[in-house]
Subunit: 537 residues, 2 copies
């Protein structure tokens, strides 16, 4: 199929689907390989933005289409395309349900398309007639805040029943359902369906949010947990072979074992292990996983390798992500190597997840609805204060810095602006500073439409706080960032300058939202530490 125009793309996931719905695929083969479902999207109605590299004035700026909060999304449709290139549109009420969240086409049933309305509080599961492209609604979900599904659902069971997830208000867990009836028990949060087999489902589950366990669930609801002890586990299945990837908090190795497993049994036989050729980190995290404060906030506390407990009160660096849909506090030692390096420079480093983070149930996740600022910041402070109570001779509350990237950068900048009584310095990497500049699907999910809910945007923006800055703040931002555009940092910097507030900016030329470049990443750590050391010691 050829593009219809410059703004039309076939066969790829649009930006919003990939960035905000974890859908990176834009075509799906039928089980018999006779046709495909193909995404078509047209960015003509989406605002034109430019991403530039002012360090190279002779390079033409790149035009991109960026759907900022409150503006028009790309027009997305799905098409049945046969091997001769003949196509038929799949029809549904695209006006009412503009997001295509997922598509599945398995031999177990008709193609399943999951669509969501713009406000994200009404989801429909559609069954597609692969001959005509007509659809029927086979399931619907409403939510007062936003609809949240586990990974891997909806899907068909082998006998043609619909596997879905459902947020159970009473038990505050995300449970699997089969044709609407609960399949997994209350109290166990389902993160994702990993595999569908004749004997049952392989699922990733959390009872304790810092852990992830792999379980087998039969279609009668019989659950067998396949992973033991504390840890973070994910798996893939093929027949009676499992590929199990397991991390532990006090190990730097992720074990990748191929195991033989017979359904119904709990015995796993190791067939092979996959070697890891990752570089061995030069640090060994010295950390504690703790639960702190009234809200039982999970946190990792890291100490300098040579710190003698009780000998010395250390300056603190909070290093959160803190935003929805992502977790930092997990039972995986490998996740805490760069923070250990930071601790070894003479700091107590604390990584904490607060309200809004996944794995603690539907209500916990939705605590940030309408306000992405208050609860995440309160929870960082609660962890800090509880840690100081627990380690009064090791933590110095008069020397607390905060650093983070992306949402973590937002939270770090927010912290020094709003709570200079607590935070003495901040390093904000690629921060959002005004949610009006961030994308439709993510932002509107939490804050609503800026035209209808301007107060949600006003009270979470960092710009009005600029005149209040009284602590050292370093803004780091990739000039080529096409996700959180550099305008975020530049607008905060301009507001700070207009208010005569001293601050530092580190513009990273030819860097996007992440900094995989080894030399950039390494030097950023050095520069961050230099900045924090000057401010805190």
């Amino acid at each position: 199929v050829a593009p219809d125009s410059d703004t039309v793309t076939w066969g790829m996931a649009n930006f919003i689907a990939a960035e905000e719905f974890d859908r990176v695929r834009g075509y799906w083969w039928s089980p018999d390989s006779s046709q495909l479902i193909v995404e078509r999207f047209d960015e003509a109605p989406v605002s034109q933005w430019w991403i530039t590299d002012p360090s190279q004035p002779d390079v033409e700026p790149a035009a991109i289409r960026y759907p900022a909060a409150g503006t028009t999304n790309p027009e997305v449709s799905l098409w049945l395309v046969d091997l001769k290139g003949k196509s038929r549109e799949i029809t549904w009420d695209r006006e009412a349900f503009e997001y295509v969240v997922s598509v599945e086409w398995s031999k177990r049933g008709a193609p399943l398309v999951t669509v969501l309305n713009r406000q994200q509080n009404h989801l429909q599961v559609l069954s597609v007639d692969p001959a005509s492209g007509a659809t029927i609604v086979i399931a619907e979900v409403h939510d007062d805040a936003w609809v949240e599904l586990a990974g891997g659902v909806p899907t068909w069971s082998p006998d043609g029943r619909l596997i879905m997830s459902s947020d159970d208000a009473k038990s505050q867990t995300c449970r699997l359902t089969i044709d609407g009836d609960p399949l997994t028990p209350a109290g166990v949060n389902i993160r994702a369906v990993l595999n569908v087999a004749d004997d049952g489902l392989l699922v990733a589950t959390s009872t304790e949010p810092t852990q992830c366990h792999v379980a087998h669930v039969s279609y009668e609801g019989k659950a067998t947990i396949l992973t033991k002890g504390k840890g973070w586990n994910v798996a893939r299945r093929g027949g009676d072979a499992l590929l199990m990837m397991s991390s532990r908090l006090h190990s730097l190795t992720t074990h990748r074992n191929v195991l033989r497993w017979s359904p119904g049994s709990t015995s796993l036989t190791k067939l092979a292990s996959i070697d890891s050729f990752n570089e061995t980190p030069s640090v060994l995290p010295r950390l504690e996983l703790v639960t702190l404060g009234d809200r039982e906030l999970r946190a990792i506390v890291q100490w300098p390798t040579d710190h003698i407990a009780g000998s010395k009160r250390l300056p603190v660096i909070m290093n959160p992500y803190g935003g929805p849909h992502a977790q930092r506090v997990v039972e995986s030692g490998r996740a805490f190597c760069s923070t250990q390096w930071l601790a070894d420079q003479g700091f107590c480093v604390i990584v904490a997840d607060g309200r809004g983070s996944p794995g603690r149930g539907p209500k916990w996740e939705r605590e940030v609805f309408g306000d992405l600022a208050t609860a995440p910041l309160e929870d960082q402070i609660a962890v800090l204060q509880a840690a100081a109570l627990r380690w009064p001779n090791d933590i110095d509350l008069d020397r607390v810095g905060i650093t983070g990237w992306s949402f973590g950068g937002y939270l770090a900048a927010l912290a020094v602006l709003a709570r200079p009584d607590v935070f003495r310095a901040a390093v904000a990497g690629a921060p959002v500073t005004d949610w009006r500049l961030y994308d439709t699907a993510y932002t509107e999910r939490y804050l609503g439409n800026p035209a209808k809910n301007p107060e949600n945007y006003e009270c979470t923006s960092l710009i009005p706080l600029a005149p209040r800055l009284e602590r050292p703040l370093l803004l780091i931002h990739g000039m080529a960032d096409d996700n959180v555009v550099v305008a975020h940092s530049l607008r905060l910097s301009a507001a700070l300058t207009a208010a005569g507030r001293a601050h530092s900016v580190l513009p990273l030329s030819q860097v996007t939202h992440m900094t995989p470049q080894e030399d950039v990443a390494e030097n950023l750590l050095l520069l961050e530490v230099d900045f924090l050391r000057k401010a805190l010691t």
Copy 2:
């Protein structure tokens, strides 16, 4: 005349003429108003650059044509255009002489066109036949470095003799000549011819470079100086009326008087004065104009208003421009108000001109030929050290900062990078950091062509010095700067980051090369002082 294409402009001065040859005009009427000389320039061969405002990602970047050192200039030609729109090209060897430095068309003679070769060491004065457009060479100037002319020349005397300026090697002065013979005395530098009348020329002169005096010179060489005492004076003449603008070092007022003057007499009668409605500055400069060091460098030294001499050694801020073709140390109090404000924050502020600055003769100006770094920096240090010898109880050599804008920003950044033993901190505003990124005419005049003289560019670039930074450095740059583009600061910042050297950047959104915006200018001063105070006190 209509444009021939999108890249062609008629009737305006091209960027290089305006920025580097002080020629802001692109059309010249004949004295009888029957036709014009019109500049045509075509920017098609000039590199396309983009000026962007990344703080507004939805605003389309502006495409500009920027002739960077070593790249192709716009193609410039001159045309005779009559009132019916008929045009004839003015012909000369445009390949050999691509710069049109000046055009004059007075009733005193044929049109005069001054052209210069790309290397700027060979200048020709052309006389134009207004009927055919043909030209003849009526004067030529060669220089081992570059050709320098006084302002307002070449021009015709009323009796048809050519008035030119000439750099006299023996007396090291710029003298006026008439048909090749000296008209003004050795030892008096001519800055500009201000007026041509039947009785003689009105000229701006300097014997002492910090002063400018207005004189009348008859065509027989009789000179009458019309301004008295120390000061900086410029004038305009109409018949027997002079408009005289006079500044003094210890006054904040520029007096603008209309005077009656009869040629041959030295008596001036005041007819009227033009009121000034400028805001009265809130500071009164407390300054000394001194001559320091073996090279008799001129400098302004400013003290806090309440400083008691000898009571306290103060941190020092050097505030140079320091580049060729511009002077800071002049007998005009008004020029030192913002530096007095800076001094009043608790600093000794020193403004010094070094080698390369105008008004001290041809050799002095050309001391920077091939190297814009060494002499200007040496001279700032020489002034500093001599000042410390003169005021040992008032100046603290262990706390010296430097701040400047444009070339001054270059010099400030160079100072901390190359001489951290002397300079403890720098604020560099809109600095050049690599001369390869600056324009053709300015840069090649001093450093030659980057392809032929790469060593001149290498040894003056700040980029290779980045790993040596060990002092606080704040880079301030307008993101919309279309003269010294922000790439200068971004590339230095990137080199510093790549070397793991801490530094600060203040990117000014929607600001060009200068900061006339009152709030920006005021806040920049506050932020500069904040930065320097932290670094020096």
